[in-house]
Symmetry: C2
Subunit: 197 residues, 2 copies
């Protein structure tokens, strides 16, 4: 993860953003959770991050692309796409990271804030991009499982992720009930057994 993050930041610095990218991203996510998307402004991000407003505007013309970059590239929301050698191991590791992200006070608040704008509007588009990006990053995990003969080539990885991630969101964010020892393993085992049946 560290390596990916570092190379990400390097890419930011080189191509897509200022060197203070991570500070800007974290300020953006904080302000989103404190004031909602309506209340998020580039001015406030500049003030919170201590980066000049014109510098921010040089890279992001408005708050929507800024938030998009923050969601896609902030270290805070980063997940490591696991490669444990088995599909079960990979999915348990991935679901464990999801648990931590939605269960953590700071990143859980980001997750909830992403939903607040409904199905229309700029924030909804940004949220959709976030989940599409995650899925693209997860695809190699499934390709490896197919190559190892652990998953049928016809299996639908989106359905599989929706079941696993959905159960995590439902238990932690919606039901707000303790997941309990072995929750992630049970979720993965039911889904894998179901797909293979």
């Amino acid at each position: 993860m560290r390596e990916r993050t570092t190379s990400n930041l390097r890419a930011q610095a080189a191509n897509r953003g200022p060197r203070a990218a991570e500070r800007i991203y974290e300020a953006t996510l904080e302000l989103l959770t404190e004031h909602g998307y309506q209340g998020l402004t580039v001015e406030a991000v500049a003030e919170r991050s201590g980066v000049n407003k014109t510098t921010i505007y040089r890279w992001w013309p408005s708050k929507a692309p800024l938030l998009r970059s923050a969601l896609l590239h902030s270290r805070v929301l980063d997940v490591e796409i696991p490669d444990t050698g088995t599909l079960r191991g990979d999915l348990i590791a991935l679901a464990g990271q999801m648990m931590r992200l939605v269960g953590d006070q700071r990143t859980g608040a980001v997750a909830r804030a992403m939903l607040s704008d409904g199905a229309q509007g700029e924030l909804a588009t940004v949220a959709r991009d976030f989940f599409a990006d995650r899925l693209e990053r997860e695809r190699p995990l499934f390709a490896r499982a197919v190559a190892r003969g652990e998953l049928a080539a016809t299996a639908d990885p989106v359905l599989l992720i929706d079941l696993i991630a959905g159960a995590v969101w439902m238990r932690v964010l919606l039901r707000q009930s303790p997941a309990g020892e072995g929750f992630v393993e049970s979720v993965v085992d039911v889904v894998l057994a179901g797909l293979r049946a």
Copy 2:
């Protein structure tokens, strides 16, 4: 559903609330989605519903119990607990209702608004009560499946619902991607096959 709803409203009228209960509930849910929980006030509910403020305060001392009643008893959010004769049929019918609720613009907005207050605070408690109430109402469906020999008595109905409802929320509200023909059936079939494996 009609019978349950009618008897609910009758109970409201007789014991717990004014006859205008449903009007008050709908005004409460509308205002929640328009202004968020912070912006929800009993005064605005009175104005929107056309019911006297003192009448509302007679039944609900503050906005938290009012919203709780609206979520638990509003016709808008009601689901019919199906009894089709098979567990698969029941779960497909239930998941289909979840799809409609989160996919509908008005009720989907309520679903998102319920998440906006985080894990602390009054709204979070009310949201938790909502999901706990749903689960209690769904339990007989699982009891019938166990009695018919379709589900092991040791199976965890909460895990099952988290997987099914979670996949619906993830696909419709988070990923905002078309569920497609047969999505609900695929979700239920994977989960049932997985539980029985």
